[in-house]
C-alpha cells in the first residue's frame, strides 16, 4: 500500500503554479513580524539585559520603518495609472484604505510602545515580550485592514486578539490583570467562533471567501434565499462588534480596560479598535454593499445602543479607566454612525474619526499610565485630585485630550464628530445625528468630571505627591497632543488623506477604482 502510494507520488510530479507575491505590498507586515522575531532572538541570545528602553526604541523604529515602507505603497495606489492591487492570489489587497489603516495602526504602536517603556520599568517588568506581542498584534491588525479574503481576515483577527489577551493578562502580580486577560480571552474566543461560523455560512451561501468574488457573485446573482448569507453576515457583525466593543457586545470592555495594564489598554483602545473597524468596513462595504439595505438598520440599532451605553453608563463610574472604557464605547458608536451611512462620506468620516481618535485615546491612556502608582493602581477619580498642582503640564494636556474626546472645537475630536454628523445627515439619518450629539453631551459630562477632579479639587486637596514623568511617555503625550491640536485647526490634510483612501470601498464614486464586476447591483 505505502509502496504503491510512494510510486504514484513519484510518478507524477505535480507542477505548482507559483503565486505572484508583491513583496513591497507586504512590506509593512513583514517588517512588523520580522522585527518581532528579531527582538525575540536578541532578547534570548544576549546574555545581559540590554539598556532599559532599547526594546521600546526598537519597537518605535520598527513601526516607523513599516510606515516608511508604506509611503511608496500609498504613492503607488494613489497613482492614477497603477492604482490599488491585489497580491498573494487575491488574498491581500493593497489600496488606499489598507495603507491608511496601516498608518493609523502603526501610530498606535508607537504611542503604546512609548507608554510601555516607563510603565514597565516602574512595574519592574522590563522585558521584550510586551513589545513582541504588540508588534505581532499590529501585524494582525494590518492584515485585517488589507485582507481581501475572509480567512486572512480571520487569521489577522486571531493574531491580533491572542497577543492582546496576553497583553491584558501580562501583569502577573496583579489579580485583576489576570482576571481581565481570562475574561477577554473567553469572550474573545467565543466571538471568534461566531466569526468563523459566519465565514462558513457565507462560504456556503456564495461559494467563496474572497471579498471581491463574493461581491461579484452577489451583484450578478439574485439569491432565491439569502438567509444563509444574512445569517453569516450577522455572525460576522457579532465578531467585529466584540472587537470594537459595540453594544451589546461591550460587556468585557470596562472590566478588561480597568484590570489590564494601562499601556496595553492604550493599544487595545486604539490599534485594536482601528483594525476591527477597518475589517468591518472592508467586509461590509466591499463584499456586501448589495445587502446595504439589510445591514444598515442593524448597524443603526447597534450605533444607538453603543452610543447610549457608552455615554450613560460612563456617568456613574468613579474609576478613570472605566470612564474612558465607556467613553471609548461611545466613540465606537460614533464610528458606527459613519459606517451606517454606507456612503463615501461615511467611510471618510470613519477613517478620519479612527485616526483622530487613536491619538486622543492613546494619549489619554498614556497619561493614566503616568499618573497611576506602582502596581498599576491609583486610577480612581480621587487619585486625580490636585493633579493640576502636582503636574500642571500633564494635567493640562490630559484636559485638552479629554476636551478633544468631548468634541470641543479646535481639536481633532470636533472635526471627527463633524464629519460623522455630516455623513449621517447626507445619508438621511438625521435622527441618528441628533442621538449622536446628545450622547456626546452626556459623555462630555464624564470628561468634565475628570477635569473637575484635576482642577477644582477645592480645599480637600490631598498632600502633594511627586509623579515621575518618563521621557518616552512625555514624548507620546507631546505627539498625541500635537496631532490632536493641529488637526483641530487644519483638518484639511487628514481629511483629504481619508478621502483618498475611500474610493476602493465605494466603487461607483470613482470609475478608476477596483470595480469587481461592472454588473448593476442586485436587489
Amino acid at each position: 500500500m505505502l509502496a504503491s502510494l510512494w510510486q504514484q507520488l513519484s510518478d507524477s510530479p505535480v507542477p505548482i503554479d507559483s503565486v505572484d507575491l508583491a513583496w513591497a505590498g507586504l512590506a509593512p507586515v513583514m517588517i512588523l513580524i520580522g522585527g518581532a522575531l528579531l527582538i525575540l532572538a536578541v532578547d534570548s541570545l544576549v546574555p545581559r539585559r540590554l539598556r532599559p528602553g532599547s526594546y521600546a526604541l526598537a519597537t518605535v523604529l520598527l513601526a516607523a520603518g513599516a510606515m516608511v515602507a508604506a509611503v511608496p505603497l500609498w504613492q503607488r495606489v494613489q497613482d492614477a495609472e497603477r492604482g490599488p492591487f491585489a497580491t498573494a492570489a487575491g488574498a491581500i489587497m493593497v489600496d488606499g484604505f489598507s495603507v491608511f489603516a496601516t498608518f493609523v495602526i502603526l501610530s498606535a504602536v508607537i504611542l503604546a510602545a512609548l507608554s510601555f517603556d516607563g510603565w514597565l520599568r516602574r512595574e519592574e517588568m522590563d522585558g521584550a515580550e510586551p513589545y513582541v506581542l504588540m508588534l505581532l498584534s499590529a501585524s494582525g491588525g494590518v492584515m485585517m485592514a488589507s485582507a481581501n479574503d475572509l480567512i486572512v481576515m480571520f487569521l489577522g483577527l486571531e493574531i491580533l486578539s491572542i497577543a492582546v489577551y496576553v497583553l491584558a493578562a501580562m501583569h502577573l502580580r496583579k489579580i485583576t490583570s489576570q482576571e481581565a486577560g481570562v475574561k477577554y480571552f473567553v469572550l474573545g474566543a467565543f466571538s471568534s467562533a461566531f466569526f468563523l461560523y459566519g465565514i462558513a455560512l457565507i462560504y456556503g451561501g456564495t461559494g467563496s471567501t474572497n471579498l471581491v468574488r463574493i461581491a461579484t457573485y452577489l451583484s450578478a446573482t439574485v439569491l432565491g434565499d439569502s438567509g444563509l448569507v444574512l445569517a453569516g453576515l450577522a455572525l460576522l457583525l457579532v465578531g467585529f462588534g466584540f472587537k470594537v466593543a459595540a453594544a451589546p457586545f461591550h460587556f468585557w470592555a470596562p472590566d478588561v480596560y480597568q484590570g489590564a495594564p494601562t499601556p496595553s489598554v492604550a493599544w487595545m483602545a486604539s490599534g485594536v479598535k482601528v483594525a476591527g473597524f477597518a475589517g468591518l468596513l472592508r467586509v461590509f462595504y466591499l463584499a456586501f454593499s448589495t445587502y446595504r439595505l439589510d445591514w444598515q438598520p442593524v448597524i443603526f440599532v447597534l450605533a444607538v445602543l453603543t452610543m447610549l451605553v457608552g455615554s450613560v453608563l460612563a456617568v456613574v463610574q468613579t474609576d478613570v479607566k472605566r470612564m474612558l472604557a465607556y467613553s471609548s464605547i461611545n466613540h465606537a458608536g460614533f464610528i458606527l454612525v459613519a459606517v451606517q451611512a454606507a456612503t463615501a462620506a461615511g467611510v471618510q468620516a470613519a477613517l478620519f474619526y479612527l485616526a483622530a481618535y487613536t491619538f486622543m485615546v492613546a494619549g489619554s491612556f498614556g497619561v493614566i499610565a503616568v499618573v497611576s502608582r506602582k502596581g498599576d493602581i491609583g486610577t480612581s477619580l480621587d487619585d486625580y485630585r490636585g493633579l493640576s498642582r502636582d503636574r500642571p503640564v500633564v494635567a493640562f494636556a490630559f484636559a485638552l485630550l479629554l476636551l478633544a474626546q468631548a468634541g470641543v472645537p479646535l481639536t481633532s475630536g470636533f472635526f471627527a464628530k463633524f464629519y460623522v454628523i455630516t455623513a449621517a445627515i447626507e445619508a438621511g439619518s438625521s435622527t441618528l445625528a441628533i442621538i449622536a450629539m446628545i450622547t456626546a453631551v452626556i459623555s462630555s459630562y464624564v470628561y468634565l468630571r475628570i477635569i473637575v477632579a484635576m482642577y477644582g479639587a477645592g480645599d480637600d486637596v490631598p498632600a502633594p505627591r511627586t509623579i515621575p514623568l518618563p521621557a518616552a511617555a512625555g514624548l507620546a503625550l507631546v505627539i498625541s497632543l500635537t496631532v490632536t491640536m493641529s488637526v483641530g485647526v487644519f483638518p484639511g490634510t487628514l481629511a483629504s488623506l481619508a478621502e483618498r483612501a475611500t474610493p476602493v470601498l465605494i466603487p461607483e464614486s470613482d470609475p478608476g477604482a477596483v470595480d469587481p464586476s461592472g454588473v448593476p447591483p442586485g436587489p
Binding site: 500642571p392 476636551l403 468631548a406 470641543v408 472645537p409 479646535l410 470636533f414 464628530k417 463633524f418 454628523i421 455630516t422 445627515i425 447626507e426 438625521s430 445625528a433 441628533i434 450629539m437 446628545i438 456626546a440 453631551v441 462630555s444 459630562y445 468634565l448 468630571r449 477635569i451 473637575v452 482642577y455 477644582g456 477645592g458 487644519f490 483638518p491 484639511g492 481629511a495 483629504s496 478621502e499
Partner: protein, 589 residues
C-alpha cells in the same frame, strides 16, 4: 511647516485684515502668556493686558473706519479653510455686530484691570484672552462653521474660569453651565449641517430649469447631427460641446456644500416666479430653526432654560461674571438676529410669537425672582434674565425700531450689567459677603462707590437720560406696533426693575452702618479708572445715542426688508419711518 504656513497665510492677505487680527490677536496673546514661566505674576498680567488692550484698540479702529452709509458687511475677509466642505474663514461686520465687537474689545481689558486673580495668574489671563478671541470671533463670523467653532470654543475658557477661580459651589455651577450650553449647541451642529444639505438641495432644485435648457439644447444639437441617445458624434467640435454640456449639468446637479452665511441666507430668494414655490424646503428649515433656537435660548437664556445662569453668575469670579453678563449672553441674542432672522427668516417669523412670549415671561419672571433674592450677585443675575427678555421681545417683534432697540440694548446691557457686577465684586472683596441682609449703610463708609452704584443702577433700570433707557424705549415703541399686549406686559417689567433694584440699593446703601460695614474702604483709584469709561458711556449714550443709532439703523432696516422678502411678513408701515430714533435723548434729557 509653520513658516510656510505663515507665508501662505500672509500671501493670501488673511493676516493683514483687521477682523482676522482682532480675532487672532487674543488667541496669540493666550499662547504668549502661557509660554511665560510661572511665578512671574506681574509679567503675565502686563502681557495679557497689552494683548487685550491691543485687541480693544483694533476694535475701536474698526469703529472709526466703519462706513455708516453701508448697510452690508464691511471689513470682509473670505478665505477657504476646508475646501471639500465649502468652509471658509469668512468674517465681516455690519452695524448690528459692530458694537458687540467693540464691547468685547474694551470690556475684557477693563475686567482684567479691575480684578486680579487670587492665584494662578497665568492660566487665568490665558483663558480670558481665549474667551475674548472666541467672543469677537462669534460676532464677526459669516460662515456657519466658523460661527459654530467660536460659539462652542467660548465654553471652555469660561468653564475653566468658573472652575478655577470661582466661589464655593463652583464645581456644580461650572458643570451645569458647560452641560447646558453644550447641549444646546450640540443640536445646533446637526442643524447647521442639515441646513447646508437643505441649501444644496434647494440649489439643485433651482438649477433644474437650467439643466432642462441645456439638455434640450444638447438634444437639438444631437438631432441636427442625426444621432440618437448614446451615439458619439463624429465631429470632434460637436462632441466637445456635448461633453461640456454634460459637465455643466454635472456641476449644476452636484454643487459643493456651502457653509457661507450670506450665500445660504441670500440663496433662499431663488423662487420660481411662475409657481410661486420656493425651492428651499421651509418645513425642514423650521426644524433646523428650532435646533438653532435651542442653542441660542440656552445662551440668552430664555425662560425655561435659564437655570444655569444664576448659578454660573454667582459662582464665577468677578471678571467671569462681567464677561458672562456683558458679552457672552449676547452670543445668544446676536445669534437670534444673525442666524435666526437673517439666516432663516421664514421660520423666524413662524416662531416669533412663541419666542416673544418666552421673552416676556422672562421679563416678568426675572424681575419677580430678582425681587426675592437675598444674594446681591444673584439679584443682578436675575435682572439679566429680565433685560435679555426685552432684547428678545425687540428682536422678534420684527419691526425696524424694535430690532434696533434690541441691538442697542445688547450693548447697553453689556455696559451697565458689566459695571454692576464689577461693583458687586468690589463690595464682595471688601466685605466677603454678598448677602443683602448683612450689608447696610454702605453709603456712609463708601460714598463714591455708592454714587457710582446709583448711576449704574439707574442706567440698568432704564432711567431716561441714561443709556439703558434708549434701548428699552425703542424696544417698547417698536414692539407696540406688532405685539401690543406683550409690550404692555413688558412695560410692567420696567416698573418691577425699578422696584427690585431700588429696594436692593436701599437695603445695601442706606441706613446706619453697623461695625463691619462702617469701616469699609471706598473705591480706590484703580477701580475708579475701570469704572470711569463705563460711566462716561452710560451718560453719553443716554444723552446722545445718535452716532450709535446711525450705524445700527441701516443694517437693521436691511435685515427687516430681507425678512419681508423671504416670508409673508410685512412690517407695519408706521414702523419704517424711524419713529423715535432721535427722540429718546431729547425726551429724557
Amino acid at each position: 511647516m509653520l513658516p510656510t504656513l505663515l507665508a501662505e497665510l500672509s500671501a493670501q492677505n488673511v493676516v493683514t485684515t483687521p477682523l482676522t487680527q482682532a480675532v487672532v490677536l487674543p488667541f496669540l496673546g493666550a499662547i504668549v502668556v502661557s509660554l511665560i514661566p510661572r511665578g512671574r505674576a506681574e509679567l503675565h498680567r502686563v502681557v495679557a493686558l497689552l494683548f487685550a488692550v491691543g485687541t480693544g484698540a483694533l476694535t475701536l479702529s474698526l469703529l472709526a473706519g466703519f462706513d455708516r452709509q453701508d448697510s452690508g458687511f464691511q471689513f470682509q475677509v473670505n478665505r477657504v479653510w476646508i475646501s471639500d466642505f465649502g468652509i471658509s474663514w469668512h468674517l465681516g461686520i455690519d452695524g448690528i455686530s459692530l458694537f458687540l465687537v467693540v464691547l468685547s474689545g474694551f470690556l475684557f481689558p477693563l475686567a482684567m484691570v479691575a480684578v486680579a486673580p487670587s492665584h494662578d495668574p497665568k492660566p487665568y489671563y490665558a483663558w480670558l484672552l481665549v474667551l475674548q478671541g472666541g467672543c469677537i470671533g462669534v460676532f464677526c463670523a459669516l460662515d456657519l462653521f466658523v460661527f459654530f467653532v467660536m460659539f462652542e470654543i467660548v465654553l471652555v475658557p469660561m468653564y475653566f474660569l468658573i472652575l478655577g477661580w470661582g466661589y464655593a459651589d463652583r464645581v456644580y455651577a461650572a458643570l451645569k453651565f458647560f452641560i447646558f450650553t453644550m447641549f444646546g449647541s450640540a443640536l445646533m451642529l446637526v442643524g447647521i449641517v442639515a441646513l447646508t444639505f437643505l441649501n444644496r438641495d434647494g440649489v439643485v432644485e433651482a438649477n433644474q430649469a437650467r439643466v432642462a435648457t441645456i439638455q434640450s439644447e444638447m438634444a437639438t444639437v444631437q438631432a441636427s447631427q442625426g444621432l440618437s441617445g448614446p451615439d458619439t458624434p463624429v465631429d470632434p467640435a460637436i462632441a466637445a460641446s456635448l461633453a461640456a454640456g454634460e459637465a455643466r449639468i454635472e456641476r449644476l446637479l452636484n454643487p459643493k456644500l456651502n457653509f457661507d452665511l450670506v450665500t445660504i441666507a441670500e440663496s433662499q430668494t431663488v423662487t420660481d416666479t411662475s409657481t410661486g414655490a420656493s425651492p428651499f424646503d421651509w418645513g425642514a428649515a423650521r426644524w433646523i430653526f428650532l435646533a438653532f433656537a435651542l442653542a441660542f435660548a440656552v445662551k440668552v437664556p430664555l425662560f425655561p432654560l435659564h437655570t444655569w445662569l444664576p448659578d454660573a453668575h454667582t459662582q464665577a469670579p468677578t471678571a467671569g461674571s462681567v464677561i458672562l453678563a456683558g458679552v457672552m449672553l449676547k452670543l445668544g441674542t446676536y445669534g437670534f438676529v444673525r442666524f435666526g432672522l437673517y439666516l432663516l427668516p421664514e421660520p423666524s417669523v413662524f416662531f416669533a410669537p412663541a419666542l416673544v412670549t418666552l421673552g416676556v415671561i422672562g421679563i416678568i419672571y426675572g424681575a419677580v425672582v430678582a425681587t426675592m433674592q437675598k444674594d446681591l450677585k444673584r439679584l443682578v443675575a436675575y435682572s439679566s434674565v429680565a433685560h435679555l427678555g426685552f432684547i428678545i421681545l425687540g428682536i422678534f417683534a420684527l419691526t425696524t425700531v424694535s430690532i434696533e432697540g434690541g441691538v442697542v440694548q445688547m450693548f447697553n446691557h453689556g455696559i451697565s450689567t458689566g459695571a454692576l457686577f464689577l461693583l458687586v465684586g468690589m463690595i464682595y472683596e471688601r466685605r466677603h459677603t454678598r448677602d443683602i441682609s448683612s450689608l447696610k449703610g454702605l453709603q456712609k463708609s463708601a460714598p463714591i462707590l455708592a454714587a457710582v452704584f446709583t448711576l449704574v443702577m439707574l442706567s440698568s433700570i432704564g432711567l431716561p437720560g441714561l443709556n439703558g433707557f434708549v434701548g428699552e424705549f425703542l424696544v417698547l415703541v417698536g414692539s407696540f406696533l406688532t405685539r401690543r399686549w406683550f409690550t404692555v406686559v413688558a412695560a410692567a417689567g420696567v416698573v418691577l426693575a425699578a422696584l427690585y433694584l431700588l429696594w436692593a440699593f436701599q437695603r445695601v446703601f442706606h441706613g446706619e452702618p453697623d461695625e463691619e460695614n462702617a469701616d469699609m474702604a471706598d473705591m480706590n483709584w484703580r477701580e475708579g479708572l475701570v469704572m470711569a469709561p463705563l460711566l462716561v458711556l452710560i451718560v453719553f449714550l443716554g444723552v446722545y445715542p445718535k452716532p450709535m443709532l446711525d450705524r445700527i439703523e441701516p443694517a437693521v432696516a436691511r435685515l427687516v426688508s430681507h425678512v419681508e422678502n423671504h416670508s409673508d411678513y410685512t412690517e407695519p408701515a408706521v414702523a419704517t419711518t424711524g419713529v423715535g430714533v432721535d427722540a429718546p435723548g431729547e425726551d429724557g434729557g
